[in-house]
Each structure stands twice: as C-alpha cells, then as structure tokens.
Symmetry: C2
Subunit: 472 residues, 2 copies
C-alpha cells in the first residue's frame, strides 16, 4: 500500500493553537475569573458547546444570528438531507451563554434556590471577520444572578445589579486594572426609552436614536446633526437627545445602582453613561459595560427579566455580565499586567477558594445593615501599605487576603436557621453580626464559638488566620 | 409588538447541562488529570474546538470519520453553497486530539524542545448513539511524549512509552482505583502483525484477525471457530492465533515496556494482552488500555510514529494516551470514589503544582541510574501507615505528599549546564544525585546548597518541607 502524501493543515481562521506559553496566559485569565466568582459566592455551571439553533432565534438579535457557526451530525441522513435542502443546520455552536443559562434555569426553576448565583468559563464561536480583539473562537466568563425571591422590587433588582457590578469591579482590580485604566459605565434602557418617547420620537425610530447615542462620543456636532437629519429628527429633538447625554441619568435604577456599588467598590469606577445600549435584544433595563481607553469594551451585561419566561420558565428577574479573554488579554499585555516566567507559575499555583471561608448573618435588624458591607470587605481583602509597588499576582500585596464570603438570601433573623444554612454551604466559619460594630464567630469545623465580641474590623483577620483564640 | 410565544428547548441529545453539583464532579476529574500531568512534568496546551475536516481524513480511520459533527459558517455564502451542494461541511468538531496535536507539533517541530511532554483537557464530539458510558460531547485528558532526541532507539521509545503508562497508573491511583479495580494491558501491534503474517495469513485478512483477537476473551471456543471459518482461517491458523493469545507477548517492545513500568508502579497493574488492538488507524507499535471489570476501557493510547510526518512535519516518534470523563465518572460512582459535600469542596481547593518542586540531575554515570526512580518516587509521594483507611482525596493519606519533579532529557553530566536547565524550568530545588544513595540539594530561590550528603530516601521529605537546614 503506498504511503499517503504528507498534507499540511493550519488552525481554522480566527481560532488559536495554544502552545504551553499561550495556554499559561489563558489559565491566568480563567483562574482569576474563577477565583473572583468563587469568593463572591457564585457556583460554577456549564452547558453544551452546541445548542438547537432555534434557541438563539428567541431573543439573541440579528447581529448574533447572522454570525452563527452551524453544525450537524455527519452520521444522520436526515440532518444531511435537511442541510442540503435548506442550507441551514439543526445546531449552532454557542455564540453566547445567556440563552443556555436561561434554558437551564427554566428547566429547574421550581427546584432551584432563589436567587441562584451562577458563573461559567466556556468557549464561544462567532463567524465574524477576525481582527484585533475579535476571534472566531474565544473564551468568556459569564456571571448571573437569577430568580430573586418573591416579587422583586426595584430596590431588590438594583441590589442584584450592584452585586454583579461590584464583582466585575473586583475582577478588574484582581487583574491590576484601576479606575484610571477603565470605568464601568451603567445605563437603564427603560429610562432612556422613556426619555426618547417624551421627545415625540416614535417606537419605529427609537432603535436609530439608541445607535446615535451609542456613537455620540465619537462624533462631532456636525456629524451628529447630519445623522439626526438622516433618521428624521427635528432640531428640537436633537437638542433633546443631547440633553439625555448631558444630564446623564441621575434618577431611577441607574442612580440606585451607582449608589449601592460606589459604597462597596473602593475607587470611583462606576458612572452613568446614557450611550451604553448593548447589542443584545433581550436586555430589559439596566445595562453596563467596562470600557478601557480607546473605547474597547472588556465586559458588558445587563438585566434580562423576560428571557426565562420566553424559554418556558416562570416570570423570573435575571441579570448578568460577560467578559471575553481576547480584548482583556490585549489590555493586560499593553499595561504590563500579564505575569511571566516564575511569576506566572506561582500565580497559577494558588489554591481556588471553593469552600466558603465565612457565612455572614445578622442576629437582629440593627445589625442587618452591616451584612453587605462586611461581606464585601471580606471578599476584597485589606491591602498592605506597600501594595502599590507590588504586582497584582503577588500575595504580599494584601495585609489580609481576600476571602470567600457568603450570606443568606432569606429575610429571617432566626440565628439557628441561619447557622444551619451556613452549614449547608459547608462554610468554615459563621460570622454572626450582633451590633453595628461587633460580631461573634463560630468555627463550624471545631464547633467552637467566640465568647467576647469581635470588632467588625477584626473579623477578616481572625477568619483569615483561622484563629479565634483571642476571643474565646 | 406582540410578545413572542414561550418556547421550550432541551440540551441536544447526548450533551449535558452541568448544574453546580455536576460541574463540581467534572472539576474533580479534570483537577486530578491536571495535577497528575503537572507533577509528571507535562505542559498544558489546547487547540481549536473545530478543525478543517480534511485533518481527520489523514489517519483517524473510518470509525471516527463516520461520526463527525460537521460545521460551517452560516455567514459565508460560499460555505453554505458548498454544504448544499455536497452535504459535507468544511469543518469538523474535534472527535479526538491527536491530529490537532500532531499538526501543532509539525508546525513548530524545529523550534520545540525534544521531546515535548504535552497534556490537554478539552471537550470532544462524536455523533454516535448515546448510551451508558458514551455521549456526543465529552471531556478527554490527552497526554503525549513527542519527538525523542536523535534517532530514537527501541529502548528510548520503550522509556517514553513507560513514562506514559506510569503516569496513567499514577492517575488511576490518585482517583483511588487499585490494581484490583482495573489493569493496564499493553500490546505491540507490530509484533502481533508479524506473528499473524508468520501463520501465512495475508495482509488483506490481518484486520479481521485483529478483530478476532479483540473479541477473543468474550467468545467461547465454538464462536471462535465459527468466526475463523467466516474470515477464511484454516484450523492450523486458528490454533496459531490461539497461541498468540496464550503465550501473550513475552519479548520485544511489550516486554521492555512492562519491565520499565513495573519497576516504577507500586502494584502489578501492567500486563501483556495481545487482544489490545485500538481502533485508530495511526497507531504503529505499542498500544495500551486501562480496562475495568466489565471490560470497560477507561483510557487507551499508543505509539504513532508516522502521523507527524503525514501532517507535514519531520519524521517524529510519538506516543500518547487519552482518558474520557464519562466511563471514568461512572466507575468512580460505582466504587464510591467520588467525593461529595465538604470533601468535594476541599478536594477542589488544593493548589495546582504548576511550578516544579524539584529538578533531578546526576553528576556522574554511576548516579544516573537513580534519576528515573527518584523522580518517580518524588512524583508518587510516600503513603502514611493508615493510608488504606483514608479516602483518595484526603491529604493525610501521605506521609510525604506527591511532588512536581522534572529531569533533563539531555545526555550531559555537566552539572553547571544541568543547573541552568533547572533554573529555566523555574524549579524550586535542584536535586543533584552524586552517588547511588545520596544527593545534594540546591535551593534555587535562596541560592543555598546542602554541604552534607542527603540520603536519597530523605530527599522527598526535605523538598516537601522546603527545609534543608539538617544538611547545610
């Protein structure tokens, strides 16, 4: 039998061969994503790499639908016949995670806790033209808070939105990106929609106006005027659109979200920006993006309160964001924030905080206001004095390292019930806040509890050292 | 605009929705795969999820080619037209890793060190009928040693084969699977082929005989005889085939591999089995499988010395194996070897041994024979006396924990050059074996070296404790 002739193949356009050095860089990015998610009490999930194509027709929008990689079984005569007949295949390589996530939640909505906090780190596929920052296969981190308990009020939704914006901000800090490198810009699609409607602009032109807002910062006054003419706006209406940009959104959900988030994020990294629209058709209210200079979006997300119902589940509020590895990797390179050599190997050797270090509860209404700030402080850690001189992957940057902290979603103040919930999460310590400035700590492994009050400022240190002896 | 009607979607047949609990189980499996690979000095890589379909036509064999999931860009008029025209798509979702790996090695053969030790943990796709142990999307761990230096001798190839078989055995031990749960069965396709030829059986019927050997253990003598008739074997030839089974393979590469491996694996888990054939067309010599009772193959691999040349690279010896997550997960469940609850969270919190703990070198020829055994001992760790009563994920099972150990592939005894290589791998310690029973240890971070000899039996403890003070 003659030997086959040698053939040379390359990776398909827009995909990557990850040799060991490039794979370490990907691991660094995905390790940070996982570590930050776990610390914030999110559970990891995953779904199929391909889905029924129809799943994306529900709400993903034309941008995504036009760029699907389609797939079919080459073993199935029926599928082959259908593809030959229609030019369309029954499956699509996932272009994004939200439809899978919504489908998975809808299928088990009755059994799942409310809310669930889910994250995933998976690969995605879009048949767009490859260019800097865009590939046809890429990784994405997704994090979502789905299914608030009861009839979620605007305040409860804002709290879930803020939880995600804070986690996004913490992830950027973990990569060493500061407020001067990039800002998180938030907006509310509903509020902007109402403002546009109030200018007497019909629903049929609202999408054009959103696109004008999206491009606003990159246009000079002449270009804005020309574009306004094209889409049929009067001079008064253009002035009205300009006023939306100028006074930003200083009321409603955006204000509530910014107030909540800025109280928990150390630097002023969160601000309103009515030009943030997001391309996906399923967003219903809050939308946000992390944007670096050069207007590169590193991450984006928003609230999609209708999608789970559209996929056969009960009406379910939901909010989430996604961050891709390509723009982020370029940005870390540009800023000198990607470790290499021994630094890289050590950065990748850190343990993952899978088990909760602390489950924080309040024993009375007065103490309850301290739960969210203490949880945020535990998750963030305390920087050492010389932190600014240290690299982001250097553990010595922290006087007290960031911890995995969780809290209850229940309204009860019954400490017995809440301690039971702490055990169900396998938390190492339960932190019971008893007054606005002190707590007791229970070591759930050793079944030992502090007898003298622990000042809230000392909780992180005691939990981190796994040492309650000063308070027993 | 009327609201769209709710639609209900399920995951495509044979794929999985991984809710948090199932995702933890997958993480447990992939964490063990990664940890064992890293300890054995393998570097992680990855490739595209889909490849040009032609890549699999080179040597994957009809079994795989018939079960490809095909993919195309739904944005490309040319690709859509081609699919409509031919019923075949330009891309295939990867059904296995070896062709990608061989393509990647071939593309950089000149720059890469010889050999490379590469591993990957990726998802794969086959359009086969889903059943217990088989899914249409699954995970697989691949590990390969590619490109031995110089003209590799049979002995050098056997050493690379043994390295992989030993790592496979260590991974099974890490999962808590013992020699009584499953054995690694090895064979040499070339030797068996020669034995078949010597019986006067033509090349055209050799494949049929290999299939008969594959099914041998499951058939009674009557069924064997009937099958032999069908494929045109005489009674004498059938007796000859039986003799291949009976005397196994007690010479050549299989013997060499077993001798090398059994010296390094604690229990007798490796044995010859001429019925091991493996379905893939690219195997050229050694083949092996890890088979549990019920004849379920948990892992399999072999030598593919021609594939890289067929993909445009230089002639390159290569050997590797793969282990899937589905059969393995079922087996761990059946044996009670899958952690749950707090055990699971703690098992997943362990640090990954990305940085080498030790780089082992020999300062003279007499000491050189100790390198491989010491490296194997460091990687395996030392069990505590009460290990049999402990779960596989319990760190207290070890008196000295398993370490990440590497060694040079170079023949030189120049200690200066070898220490330089240790530094290039960012090893924490260099272990310089100086006699058949002692070494000196250099702390490469502190730049301090032992002055009194360290007995080889004490090396693992000193490196593991990161404490050389007793020998300074």
């Amino acid at each position: 039998m003659p030997s086959p002739k040698p053939q040379s193949f390359k990776a398909p356009t827009g995909t990557r061969d990850l040799y060991p050095e490039e794979q370490l860089r990907q691991r660094y990015i995905t390790d940070v994503w996982r570590r930050v998610s776990l610390r914030h009490g999110f559970d990891e999930i995953d779904g199929p790499t391909f889905e029924h194509s129809g799943l994306y027709a529900v709400k993903s929008g034309d941008g995504i639908l036009g760029e699907l990689f389609q797939a079919f079984s080459g073993k199935s005569p029926d599928e082959i016949a259908a593809v030959r007949d229609t030019g369309r295949a029954p499956f699509a390589l996932r272009p994004e995670f939200t439809p899978t996530l919504a489908r998975m939640y809808a299928a088990r909505a009755n059994q799942l806790p409310k809310p669930v906090r889910w994250f995933s780190v998976c690969n995605y596929f879009r048949a767009e033209r490859p260019q800097r920052g865009r590939l046809r296969e890429f990784l994405q981190w997704n994090a979502d808070v789905i299914g608030l308990s009861g009839d979620a009020s605007p305040a409860q939704k804002a709290e879930a939105d803020a939880e995600l914006v804070v986690m996004l901000a913490e992830s950027l800090a973990e990569f060493g990106l500061s407020a001067s490198d990039l800002a998180i810009r938030v907006n509310d699609r509903e509020t902007v929609g109402e403002r546009i409607e109030a200018l007497g602009i019909g629903v049929d032109r609202a999408e054009d106006v959103l696109r004008l807002l999206d491009a606003w910062a990159k246009m000079d006054p002449g270009a804005r005027k020309a574009r306004a003419r094209e889409i049929g706006l009067s001079d008064d209406q253009l002035a009205g659109v300009a006023s939306i940009m100028e006074d930003a959104i200083d009321s409603g959900p955006t204000r509530a979200l910014i107030d909540l988030a800025t109280g928990l994020v150390p630097e002023a990294t969160v601000r309103a920006d009515p030009s943030i629209v997001r391309g996906l058709a399923y967003y219903t209210g809050t939308v946000f993006e992390a944007i670096a200079e050069g207007e590169r979006a590193v991450a984006g997300g928003g609230r999609y309160d209708n999608l789970i119902e559209l996929l056969g589940g009960p009406p379910t509020p939901a909010c989430g964001f996604a961050m891709g590895d390509v723009v982020l990797g370029n940005l870390l390179d540009d800023k000198g924030l990607m470790p290499s050599g021994q630094d890289m190997l050590e950065a990748l050797s850190k343990p993952m905080p899978v088990r909760p270090d602390a489950f924080v509860i309040a024993s009375n209404d007065e103490a309850a206001a301290q739960v969210v700030p203490l949880v945020a402080q535990l998750r963030r850690g305390t920087l050492a004095d010389d932190a600014p001189e240290r690299k982001p992957w250097d553990d010595a940057r922290f006087a007290v390292p960031p911890l995995h902290a969780r809290r209850s979603s229940k309204a009860t103040r019954n400490v017995g019930k809440l301690l039971k919930e702490a055990s169900q999460h396998y938390a190492r310590f339960a932190v019971i806040i008893e007054s606005p400035d002190s707590a007791s700590i229970k070591d759930l492994d050793a079944n030992a509890q502090t007898s003298s009050p622990v000042p809230l400022a000392e909780v992180a240190g005691a939990v981190s050292r796994r040492d309650l002896s000063a308070y027993l």
